[in-house]
């Protein structure tokens, strides 16, 4: 087993971006790099998963966040409720 998994593999499965808000320094690198202009920072600040239907799960925000705040998590309940 590899100790270091690539988050892209997960992204390809049904996944959503989930923040660890405690760590976020609100720098905005995620929002700036999101091709869909989703305000990722505001989700991160509030500790909410990104449930916007137009999120491509492209992993751009996850990779650009300098603080490791964002990660992919498998959607266990697709309605997100």
């Amino acid at each position: 087993m590899s100790l270091f998994k690539n988050s892209r593999h997960l992204a390809l499965a049904q996944a959503q971006v989930v923040p660890d808000s405690e760590l976020c320094v609100q720098c905005g690198c995620c929002t700036y790099n999101c091709p869909m202009e989703i305000d990722v920072r505001s989700y991160a600040r509030k500790g909410l998963p990104i449930l916007e239907s137009y999120c491509l799960t492209c992993s751009e925000c996850v990779n650009r966040c300098p603080r490791g705040v964002l990660r992919f998590e498998k959607i266990t309940n697709p309605t997100g409720s």
Partner: protein, 439 residues
């Protein structure tokens, strides 16, 4: 009667306090006094702005609508004195601002270097957005820059100026980077990467004198007696909590403004939160200083709530930061000292906690996967600290184990240096713990 809340400072402690107050009191008057005229911005984000990762407008952390909803009154001036008995603050612009509850959220300020010529124009620090503007405008004209200091900010300065096309020499007094937090191997990885990026990294080199002409810096003389020409000297040798106002006004201070776990200062109706505040450990009478965004945010929230009459207690968390060092993500959790003294800092640096320098009685386990590394520090029963360099997949597990002090003594007995075996077992311990503690 409307309560008059006054907050000095406009950083994250100030903003989170204002939000916490507004959540609980929709009509009270909230006045923010700050010498900074900008809207609320991300201070750690300044490094990414300097490095051109984001444009300036990305730094601002609340929308115009969110700010309007807070209904704040802002005064752009410096607070110069607090008359605690009369419940009023005196400002530099002559104004007197009365308060019912006051919050000091004055942050920390970068320490000044002591070498000869330290007053010259072109010697810059990185405290706020105005400094960043100055750095950027100097970098536009400068061919060469010199960076001195240690910790995260010095490195961010070196990389930021380099990204702006300036030839950067980064001088370290000691023989390796951030030697009280990183171990030798980790320092070496970061230093090699910096050199590879094109930064002229020099060890055991110290500025003895800054030499200028007509008040402008032109070169520095080092302890090696070398003259290095430069148009910019960026300094990040540590920060100090801003306690001058509190001190002048008769509040109890030590390294920071002393507060109770309710974040109350020694004066009635005055609170303090963020980088400027200091909470002493009742057992030791000492404190470990943190200059960390999440801690300033959490304290601001609690101080704000308590200003409206609640009685929330601030509980110190295990200091944790993830940062980019020479393009590598590095997470630092709890006590994980680098084992050496650090000559590049005169005080704690931004984005740092003094706790990280502590090294408990430990067994250290390291993994070498070229750049992906994990270093663990075990105490008697539980994990005390961890440093994760590169891939961050294990950070969440390690953080929880340290935060909850999960008993992992069963594993400790069988420690090998093979993390491929240890990490899954640690994860299992956490799962068991979480299962037991599920209510």
């Amino acid at each position: 009667m409307l309560v008059r809340y006054v907050i000095i400072g406009s950083g994250i402690a100030s903003l989170s306090a204002a939000e916490a107050i507004r959540q609980r009191d929709s009509t009270g008057r909230i006045t923010i006094i700050s010498e900074e005229s900008h809207d609320f911005y991300s201070r750690p984000g300044l490094a990414y702005y300097l490095r051109r990762d984001i444009p300036e407008k990305q730094l601002f952390i609340r929308s115009a609508k969110e700010i309007r909803e807070l209904a704040l009154e802002r005064i752009h001036s410096q607070a110069i004195h607090i008359e605690a008995k009369q419940h009023q603050v005196q400002l530099e612009n002559g104004q007197i601002v009365p308060y019912d509850r006051l919050l000091l959220a004055t942050g920390a300020l970068a320490s000044s270097p002591s070498f000869t010529g330290n007053h010259l124009r072109g010697i810059l620090k990185l405290d706020g957005l105005d400094d960043t503007h100055q750095l950027i405008s100097r970098a536009r004209k400068a061919k060469r820059a010199i960076v001195v200091g240690g910790g995260i900010t010095a490195l961010e300065l070196a990389e930021g100026l380099h990204a702006r096309g300036v030839k950067v020499a980064y001088l370290l007094r000691g023989d390796r980077y951030w030697s009280d937090v990183l171990n030798e191997e980790e320092s070496k990885i970061v230093m090699d990467r910096l050199k590879h990026e094109g930064i002229d990294l020099r060890i055991k080199t110290q500025v003895e004198e800054a030499i200028g002409s007509r008040g402008e810096i032109q070169s520095v003389r080092t302890n090696q007696n070398e003259i290095l020409p430069t148009q910019l000297l960026a300094v990040a040798i540590g920060v100090k909590p801003r306690i001058d106002l509190a001190q002048r006004s008769g509040l109890a201070t030590k390294r920071g403004i002393l507060v109770t776990p309710y974040l109350q200062t020694s004066a009635r109706d005055i609170f303090a939160a963020g980088d400027c505040a200091e909470i002493l450990d009742p057992q030791t009478g000492k404190s470990q200083q943190d200059i960390l965004w999440p801690i300033a945010l959490a304290q601001g929230r609690i101080a704000g709530a308590n200003m409206t009459g609640e009685e929330l207690v601030y509980k110190k968390e295990i200091p944790f930061n993830v940062t980019m060092l020479a393009g590598l993500k590095v997470a630092i959790i709890g006590q994980i000292g680098g084992g050496s003294q650090n000559d590049d800092l005169v005080s704690v640096s931004r984005g740092e906690s003094e706790t990280w320098r502590l090294l408990p009685k430990t067994i250290l386990v390291e993994s070498l996967d070229q750049i992906n590394r994990i270093r663990l520090a075990f105490g008697e029963k539980s994990l005390q600290g961890a440093l994760v360099m590169g891939d961050q997949r294990w950070v969440r597990v390690l953080k929880k184990l340290i935060l909850h002090q999960v008993d992992v003594s069963a594993i400790r007995g069988a420690l090998t240096n093979n993390l491929h075996q240890i990490l899954p077992r640690l994860e299992q311990k956490l799962n068991e713990w979480e299962h037991r503690n599920k209510t």
